[in-house]
């Protein structure tokens, strides 16, 4: 007897949990029966239900769905920020669900970059220092870090802004820096949570073009978005509703 707060289930999965599928070849990320729920007294409400998905290296995936569908939660699980879920998660064939916090952090540091809707640049640090932060957490020597930051400043054409503080930049410029910060440590995958949500259309387009370029360079992109236009930049869309994958 289960105490679900939800009573309806999409037809596609109503028959019950599918058997765990074998891992697809070349899968960067493989999710099997991922579930996340919160207990409320004797009942339990689910945020994600039986998520099964494979994302190959080099894909540009958009996760879409209405508010509260579980998009951001899924992104954070993929980003290894969240460990309170059940199911199986393989990242480059490594079973994340069996790894300890330290090993997950190591994987995360090595392969994943994050871009947020609100940019989340650190207010009291300059553009240069914001870019340096992820590198400083990866125990890279200072000289090497300097050259990496200069490279990225150059690549993103923001050299002239390196000494400015975030509040001296426009929203688009801030998100540009945030993307630069996400790619500076050369991740295999960039997770972006509504990266254009706070931007004007033209600024948003600029960022999406940037993602496309990065993807063409081999970086896997997984974005959460409400925008069909933005989703059009990707090669694949995962639709979520009430925690279930309803369409792919």
């Amino acid at each position: 007897m289960a105490f679900f707060s939800r009573s309806s289930q999409p037809a596609a999965t109503a028959a019950g949990a599918p058997e765990a599928e074998a891992l697809a070849p070349n899968a960067l990320i493989a999710l099997r029966n991922i579930e996340k729920s919160y207990a409320h007294g004797t009942s339990r409400s689910y945020v994600l239900r039986r998520i099964n998905a494979d994302i190959k290296e080099g894909e540009f995936v958009s996760i879409m769905g209405p508010s509260g569908a579980g998009k951001s939660t899924l992104l954070h699980i993929i980003g290894m920020h969240d460990s309170a879920w059940t199911g199986e998660y393989y990242f480059l064939d490594q079973p994340v669900h069996r790894l300890g916090a330290k090993e997950r952090a190591k994987l995360h540091k090595q392969y994943i970059g994050f871009v947020f809707q609100s940019y989340h640049l650190l207010d009291h640090l300059t553009v240069y220092e914001n870019l340096d932060i992820p590198l400083s957490y990866r125990d890279i020597k200072k000289a090497e870090r300097e050259s990496m930051v200069c490279d990225i400043l150059d690549k993103f054409a923001i050299v002239g802004k390196k000494d400015l503080y975030p509040n001296q930049l426009s929203g688009g410029q801030q998100q540009l820096v945030a993307v630069a910060r996400a790619v500076i440590s050369n991740p295999k995958v960039i997770l972006a949570d509504e990266p254009t949500g706070n931007l004007h259309t033209s600024q948003g387009k600029e960022i999406m073009e940037l993602f496309k370029k990065l993807n063409e360079g081999g970086t896997t992109i997984i974005q959460v978005t409400h925008s069909e236009v933005n989703a059009g930049y990707g090669s694949r869309i995962i639709h979520l509703r009430d925690g279930w994958i309803v369409d792919e």
């Binding site: 920020h81 994050f114 989340h120 932060i133 957490y137 440590s185």
Partner: protein
């Protein structure tokens, strides 16, 4: 305006109730600060501010001989000649009295009772302006040689020993072997002029004809004539001194007269220590205020939107500041009320801890002045800790708070102000800790100081055979011999010795002459020696080491003396002192120096080495001596046997001031212990408050930076790096606080200089230990917030978008 105030007050009360946790912490913090200040101020009030309990106390002066012109002290005791010479200066003084302590043995009980009293000139009670409760006080006719013995009782002695008998006046009582008529009883409120706990008084019966010009045995109090100022008195007395010098060059050359206001005399020496204590509690209060200011800043940051709405609705800046100040003042008054209660408890504690003999300590209490002080302090602190948060909340940049949709966050949320306050708090705490540390080190140094003798298991007591019975040297000698013989055989006694002077028990000096050197022509050039009349085994009893020569044998007939190393070095710097002869008075026999012993710190560890000489009591049995028993067992167990042994020799002689030398040393160090304990308590309080402050600020900072920490974690920061972020921030604040505090601590060391002993004002151990302690406490206080930061869930932290 008034309606607005009432509204502010009502609203402030509601805010206090709504934020009960913060209110409770703030009130308790403030109560600790105000309680400590109230307690210490009550001491300052009673000792320094409240006038002495005599009519027109401003006109009372202690009059000293000022011997600085001849290398002596500025406050030398007086003698009969000074009393009569100065009293005659009627243009200055309305009246003058001289007095000395009196060891009285009251006979009649199972054991004679040793009671402290004063022997005074007849003007004593009139000069102090104190009428009796019963009977009369002294008349001039009571104070002439051979006048019948009369005595005035204290209220306490009358009540305790005589059952408050209303018909006591006229009865006689045997004191020191003489019958005394009780002529009066003083009221309970009377404060003696010299001996704090004097229980009875009798006239000195001085002879005004040809008074001694070379003794200094009295203390003299004068009452200035109405309208005579202290500078006028000084000028007139300077003229008098010149006249006396001209009239008596042999004794009065270089003698000046030094009148000191009695209030200053009584408590002046306590002033530096009291100011130190006031400073210490002041620091505690400032730290408490800083903590509360921080709490209010946090609350104000959380209420930015409320303030912004108020501004948008038309409240001007001053109106907002007034509202917030009303809140802080209300908080301060609540803290002040609780603080006064703590102060009452603190005063009781202070009185029980105060070193023995602290003048006016009985008068310490919470009175109207102290209550007013507490009220003013509360209001002032309310403004002090309320003004920064109020200013912060009433800033003009309020629109951003509205735009942020009520997240209650703008700018750095007062972070800079909060950090600055924490730095100030740490600096103040360090200053207090260093002060406390230096005083503790002083106390330890005093306890460990080598006084030149071994005080372990030594019992002492003073015996004064009554002059009426023991008139001659032979009679006194027989009495002392008998007492020594009886006490020596008491079980547990290893040595029964006697000495006219024991460490920490007063001293007496005289002038002397060295054989072969020209005698001094006047008192200015006289050689001074502090002399002790002792039994031969005194050195063994006190374990005073012999440096050269020999000690004298018991009852050695030859006139021999033993001197201390300082005397040998000072008077025979380049020759052997052994074998040299000195004499004490022109007609006295020459005495040969046979031994040199180590210096003894008779005045305690803070004393200086003086010229001292010892002679056998059989050559000069003084009128009163100290018994010194070195015991093999607990000396306190021998107190009653000692009293009984003396009573067996003479039932009329009491043993006064019986106690162990170790107790006497502890008592002498009592004030150091008192100040060290208090400052250490206040420093501990400051440290605890600083820790609470750091905890509060860092917790708040972590809460404020949750999102930032989430971002950092999302960008790959390890937990230890987040931990380091918070602890590092604390360390940065602690370092700045330490740097400022160390500079302040140097000033504290200088301010404490007069109270220190055996420790440098910049003592490395104290400075480094207290700095280390402060850093450790700061880190500890930031540990919990740092752990909390480590556990930030990045997903939750970033979800706010």
């Amino acid at each position: 305006m008034l309606r607005g105030f009432v509204q502010d007050l009502r609203y402030a009360g509601r805010v206090m109730l709504k934020t009960r946790g913060l209110t409770l912490v703030a009130v308790i913090t403030l109560a600790l600060g105000i309680g400590a200040n109230t307690a210490i101020f009550s001491v300052v009030n009673a000792l320094l501010l409240r006038p002495l309990p005599y009519p027109d106390p401003d006109r009372l002066v202690m009059v000293w001989q000022d011997l600085r012109a001849r290398g002596g002290p500025a406050t030398e005791w007086t003698g009969p000649s000074q009393h009569f010479d100065w009293k005659a200066e009627t243009a200055v003084f309305e009246g003058m009295t001289s007095m000395r302590g009196w060891n009285a043995s009251l006979s009649g009980g199972a054991l004679p009772e040793a009671v402290l009293g004063e022997q005074t000139t007849y003007e004593y009670f009139d000069v102090l302006g104190a009428p009796p409760a019963l009977g009369r006080v002294f008349r001039q006719s009571d104070d002439i040689p051979n006048a019948p013995r009369v005595v005035v009782l204290s209220h306490k002695l009358w009540t305790q020993r005589f059952g408050a008998d209303p018909s006591i006046v006229g009865r006689t009582v045997p004191i020191n072997g003489e019958s005394h008529e009780i002529i009066g009883v003083m009221p309970a409120s009377f404060t003696p002029g010299l001996v704090t706990n004097a229980a009875l008084w009798r006239p000195l019966r001085l002879n005004p004809a040809n008074p001694s010009r070379n003794s200094a045995v009295f203390r003299t109090i004068g009452r200035l004539k109405r309208g005579v100022t202290l500078p006028q008195a000084r000028a007139a007395l300077a003229m008098l001194a010149k006249r006396l010098e001209a009239a008596h060059p042999e004794s009065d050359t270089g003698n000046a007269i030094n009148p000191v206001p009695l209030q200053e005399q009584r408590v002046g020496t306590l002033r530096p220590a009291l100011f130190v204590l006031l400073g210490a509690v002041g620091f505690v209060l400032v730290i408490a205020c800083v903590n509360i200011a921080n709490l209010l800043l946090s609350r104000a940051s959380g209420r930015l939107r409320e303030m912004a709405v108020r501004r948008a609705l038309g409240a001007d800046r001053m109106r907002i500041i007034r509202q917030l100040l009303t809140e802080s003042i209300l908080l301060a008054i609540a803290g002040g009320a609780l603080g006064v209660l703590l102060g009452v408890w603190g005063v009781a504690g202070l009185k029980s801890m105060a070193p023995a003999g602290t003048p006016r300590i009985d008068e310490v209490g919470i009175d109207r002045v102290v209550l007013s002080f507490a009220l003013v302090l509360s209001l002032a602190t309310g403004v002090l800790f309320g003004v920064v948060p109020a200013w912060h909340a009433a800033r003009d940049r309020f629109t951003s708070a509205l735009k942020q949709g009520g997240r209650g966050q703008a700018g750095d949320g007062g972070g800079r102000a909060r950090r600055a306050l924490i730095v100030a708090e740490l600096a103040l705490a360090l200053m207090l800790l260093v002060g406390g540390g230096l005083l503790i080190r002083t106390f330890i140094a005093l306890q460990r100081a080598d006084l030149g003798f071994n005080p372990e298991r030594v019992l002492t007591g003073f015996i004064l055979p009554p002059g009426a019975t023991y008139r001659t040297n032979k009679q006194r000698l027989a009495f002392y011999d008998a007492v020594l013989a009886r006490t020596a055989v008491l079980p547990g006694v290893r040595h029964a010795a006697l000495s006219s002077v024991i460490p920490l028990g007063g001293d007496s000096d005289t002038d002397f002459q060295i054989e072969g050197r020209p005698p001094a022509q006047n008192s200015k050039d006289a050689l001074i020696v502090w002399y002790r009349v002792i039994s031969a085994n005194y050195f063994s009893a006190m374990e005073i080491p012999l440096r050269r020569g020999r000690l004298f044998g018991d009852r050695e007939a030859e006139p021999t003396i033993v001197i201390n190393e300082t005397m040998a070095k000072r008077h025979w710097p380049n020759e052997e002192a052994l074998g040299k002869r000195v004499r004490f008075g022109a007609d006295a026999p020459w005495m040969t120096i046979v031994g040199i012993v180590a210096d003894v710190q008779v005045r305690g560890a803070r004393g200086t080495n003086e010229v001292e000489a010892y002679m056998g009591y059989w050559h000069n049995p003084e009128p009163g001596v100290n018994l010194v028993l070195k015991t093999a067992t607990d000396p306190a167990a021998l107190i009653e046997p000692l009293r009984r042994a003396v009573k067996e020799v003479d039932p009329g002689v009491a043993v006064a001031g019986v106690g162990t030398l170790e107790e006497a040393i502890a008592e002498a160090n009592g004030s150091s212990r008192f100040y060290a304990t208090l400052v250490a308590i206040f420093a501990g309080l400051a440290l605890a408050l600083a820790a609470v402050g750091i905890y509060g600020v860092m917790s708040y900072a972590v809460a404020q930076r949750t999102q930032e920490i989430g971002v950092r974690l999302a960008l790959g920061a390890a937990e230890r790096q987040i931990f380091g972020l918070v602890v590092g921030e604390t360390l940065k604040l602690a370092t700045i606080g330490l740097a400022l505090g160390l500079a302040g601590a140097l000033a504290v060391g200088k301010a404490l200089q007069r109270l220190l002993f055996g420790v440098n004002t910049m003592d490395f151990v104290t400075f480094s230990a207290t700095a280390g302690l402060l850093v450790a406490v700061a880190l500890l206080a930031s540990y919990v917030p740092a752990r909390r930061a480590m556990r930030v869930d990045p997903m939750e932290a970033l979800r706010v978008e």
